[in-house]
Amino acid sequence: MENTVELTSDQLVVTPIGMTKIAALKEAVRVPKAHVVGASIDAGILKESKGLRMPGTAIPGYWAGTFRKAGEETFFNIKQTSEPVVIQLKDARYTRIVIGVAQPRELVDQINNWIATRD
């Protein structure tokens, strides 16, 4: 588990934990609820090119930090062995967030139901 995720009444908060906090160079990523579009499990995303790292950490089998590709910035904090949770954002600094968490399937359902109650 590389991150914890908290869903408040109006914010999604991703907090890198342990050593990954240092590697990802972030205390936390906070996104207003209105800017969260959806969450998915996506094992294949780690096999695609992630773009240029700027800044972040390069350790084999571990992606941490901000990556830029095709004009988009993605925040990664995930080990290769984790099941990736992809959180799509809009009108935010990051286009999407790709993280490893303790219970990925439960988190994906929680995020999608959380934004379904937005209106």
């Binding site: 996506d42 294949g44 695609e48 799509q88 139901n113």
Partner: protein
Amino acid sequence: MGRKTSFDHDVVILQMSQVFARFGYAGTALDDIVAATGVLRGSLYRVFGSKQGMFIACLSAGLANQSQSELTWRLILVALLELSQTSLAVQTLIRGWYNEQDATTVLTQLGQQILNQSGILKGEIPDGKHS
């Protein structure tokens, strides 16, 4: 790798519907959708938000038709079996549709779909390939 950033929405909805109908929801990976549509992963996420958003777009398009096609009935089955218990958005969508249907017709159609997909009606020999 030749993948597209822009696409014909209706064509992609049909292609995604076929993938969900074939593999089910949990059995569909984003890789399957990328391969079937030829659209970049990032573009799919930008337009639909999530895999659930992709499924909802397919189901909504099918339910919007006056009468449901074989493909739409398959998506309805997938929604009922895999998503409506855990997804608020899918439950709301499918309940709204169900409340406007004749319950007996829905029961008959769903039962027929399950039998059709089972292969037992035609005495098919399972070959390991998905229909």
